[in-house]
């Protein structure tokens, strides 16, 4: 191993995202804002709670997005900052008796400091090593919180119970609804601030460092300063998200802030599209709702489902939700005709055939003493692939047949889920077909474009 690294010719750690591509246009933003404002008026309290969850986890993912998509540094330690924010809010509310709204900026400031300090040693590492060091931080955090020394404040393993705030000024709202609007206001505020930050001088400095560190420092950017600053800002926003989370869940305990949370946030960022701020909400939706679906396929398999989905995202839509959403207008204009390469066609055919065969054989197979019973999902995946391929090739009869198989084989899934999820899950499963079509199409589009170059 030579100790010399080619730094200038090296590809950047994170693919460069142009500044303009990081946000949404005004029109779209307004539509989404109106939707976010009126939806809670028509749904049940539990759904409102889940929407609140969506917002504060989205905020945490946004923070990671600023760090990774903006300044090109990785972190698998966001759960640690999240935990510090949550505990700061909870302790201030329960022991000092402060108002919940006042605790949030304090949580943000403390986490900013913590992140800024952690950013110092993090300067020495980049890429995968930084990811592993932050991973160590995330695994160490629950143990630190359980420490006897802090137990008086943190409640040790038991954690702390937080009281849920009522709507102020006698507003006729349930607690859940008030909390939702409160979270929404903060989320919008931070979102606008983040967009402005990335458009500002500091934001340009972040992006210059992300794209080429040496060129950035040659242009007079204080690399160390801006890298730690990015860590601080990201940790601060995560801290606010953590505080909101503590208020919404009404409970903080060390074991809710394990490394799993950090991995979920990272996953949310990749799914939403690295460097695309609105994608954070889509990523949050992914990490909230997908585990439910995964658990319904097989208990304890959610890790594997997460992993497989992550690989699917990496290979098919490396730009995450951004790519899918940007592909829609293109699809409407040009239709869904896919020019597949021969290799892709063979691969998908082979995959679909193997899966279909497995679906027929697996029920009879017993591996190491237990029956393999998930043949229906395997069949549906095969059918989904076939339906997608047929739809793309304008072969409507096959597409319709395969879609019917998808519908029939996916029926048990919504039925076995908890009440209230059945309909959206069926729609989501059937909706997978056009989504994959869009993804494949977009991929082919990219391939074609780069082949022309």
């Amino acid at each position: 191993m030579s100790a010399v690294e080619e730094i200038v010719t090296e590809a950047p750690a994170v693919e460069a995202v142009p500044k303009r591509a990081m946000t949404l246009g005004y029109g779209t933003s307004l539509v989404i804002l109106v939707l976010l404002l009126i939806v809670p008026l028509f749904v049940k309290n539990f759904i409102i709670f889940q929407l609140t969850q969506l917002l504060y986890l989205g905020l945490a993912i946004l923070a990671l997005n600023i760090l990774t998509g903006g300044s090109g540094q990785f972190s698998l330690g966001q759960s640690a900052f999240y935990a510090v924010g949550a505990y700061t809010s909870a302790i201030l509310m329960e022991y000092a008796g402060w108002n919940y709204a006042v605790t949030l900026p304090i949580a943000g400031i403390i986490c900013f400091g913590f992140g800024f300090l952690f950013g110092q040693p993090a300067l020495r590492l980049s890429g995968v090593y930084l990811a592993l060091a932050t991973f160590a931080l995330a695994t160490a955090m629950p143990q630190l919180l359980k420490l006897g020394f802090f137990e008086h404040w943190t409640g040790g393993v038991q954690g702390l119970v937080v009281t849920k705030p009522d709507a102020p000024f006698g507003l006729p709202m349930s607690q859940d609804m008030w909390l939702y609007y409160f979270t929404l206001a903060i989320t919008i505020g931070i979102y606008i601030a983040s967009v402005n930050l990335l458009k500002s001088r500091s934001g340009r400095a972040f992006m210059a460092i992300r794209d080429n560190e040496i060129a950035a420092s040659a242009m007079g950017i204080n690399v160390a300063m801006y890298k730690t600053l990015a860590f601080g800002v990201s940790a601060g926003i995560t801290g606010v998200a953590g505080g909101l989370g503590a208020i919404a869940v009404q409970f903080v305990a060390p074991d809710s802030f394990t490394v799993t949370l950090a991995i979920q946030l990272f996953l949310g960022m990749v799914v939403g599209g690295v460097g695309w701020l609105p994608g954070s909400i889509i990523g949050a939706a992914f990490i909230i709702f997908v585990p439910n679906i995964a658990e319904s396929v097989s208990k304890g398999l959610s890790g594997a489902v997460f992993g497989v989905l992550l690989f699917v995202v990496i290979f098919l839509v490396p730009h995450g939700a951004r790519q899918v959403i940007l592909a829609i207008p293109h699809l409407i204009k040009h239709g869904a005709r896919l020019e597949m390469t021969d290799r892709a066609r063979t691969l998908t055919s082979a995959a679909a055939l193997t899966l279909a065969l497995l679906g027929l054989i697996l029920p009879a197979v017993v591996i190491m003493g237990f029956h393999v019973v998930w043949h229906t999902p395997v069949l549906s995946v095969a059918a989904i692939i076939y339906a997608t391929r047929a739809a793309l090739a304008d072969n409507r009869i096959v597409a319709a047949l395969a879609s019917a198989v998808v519908l029939i084989t996916t029926q048990p899934v919504p039925a076995s889920l908890a009440a209230g999820y059945g309909v959206p899950v069926t729609i989501a499963l059937v909706g997978i077909v056009p989504l994959i079509a869009i993804a494949l199409n977009m991929r082919a589009h990219f391939v074609k474009k780069s082949a022309l170059r």
């Binding site: 191993m1 730094i7 304890g300 398999l301 990496i314």
Partner: protein, 292 residues
Amino acid sequence: MELFANQVLAGIATGAIYACMALAVVMIYQAIDHLNFAQGEMAMFSTFISWQLMQWGVPYWGSFVLTVAFSFLGGIAIERLLFKPLAKAPILTNVAGFIALYAIINSFAGLIWDFTIKQYPTPFGSSPFLGSQLISTHQAGMIGLTLLMLTLLFFFFRFTRVGLAMRAAASLPESARLVGINTSWMIALGWGMAAAIGSVAGMMIAPVVFLEPNMMLGVLIYGFAAAVLGGLTSPFGAVVGGFLVGIFENLVGTYIPGVGNELKLPIALALIITVLVVKPAGLFGRPVVKRV
């Protein structure tokens, strides 16, 4: 003074575990210039396979050899199937791939062998070593095996053509390709070797920490701490770092009140941070020079 000496000895014994893992960490860094998060999980999965083979009646050393061979091929297969297409992708994509692999392996191991803790046999026996109560024959055997692997690796990289080609492919891929080295296969080979070393580490560690799907999480972080301490560019440093981390951990536990078993991971974290701030290249690593 006797307490001190005993604790150092005990530290060397636990340090052997970390040294094993750190060696695997540095190995894969040497071979592919990346650090594999799923390394620990791959080792855990290999260990489970050897356990399963033994349950089926294969003798220890037979299953040992089979498992190492399986891990080697498995490592190559993972690289060919999943990571070769990502070779040109940004590091972020690779990190996401490692995490995905981590989640998949962990989840499947739990699904196949469930999360109950299992006993794992040792080939060296567990009687006291040379009359000392603190270090058992298993731990002595583990230290011996680690040192043996280190020596073999040193000779492999230093004196064989394939070893030289692997080093070339890792440090300057373009130039290596120009002199006719198949860099793509060198990377696959690196994955295979790292998986094989990891499987040996897993089989040595399992009798101490017991076999279960999450057994490697703490060990991986300690292994990383050891590799950082010794210098990420030096296999020798990684082994020394492993022993030092073990000794350090034991001494801190003995002499500083209030530091119990539950503080193990924060100690590793503190160590990583201190080394990075004070001596970023580690004890034996060369500082990385950047060419503009």
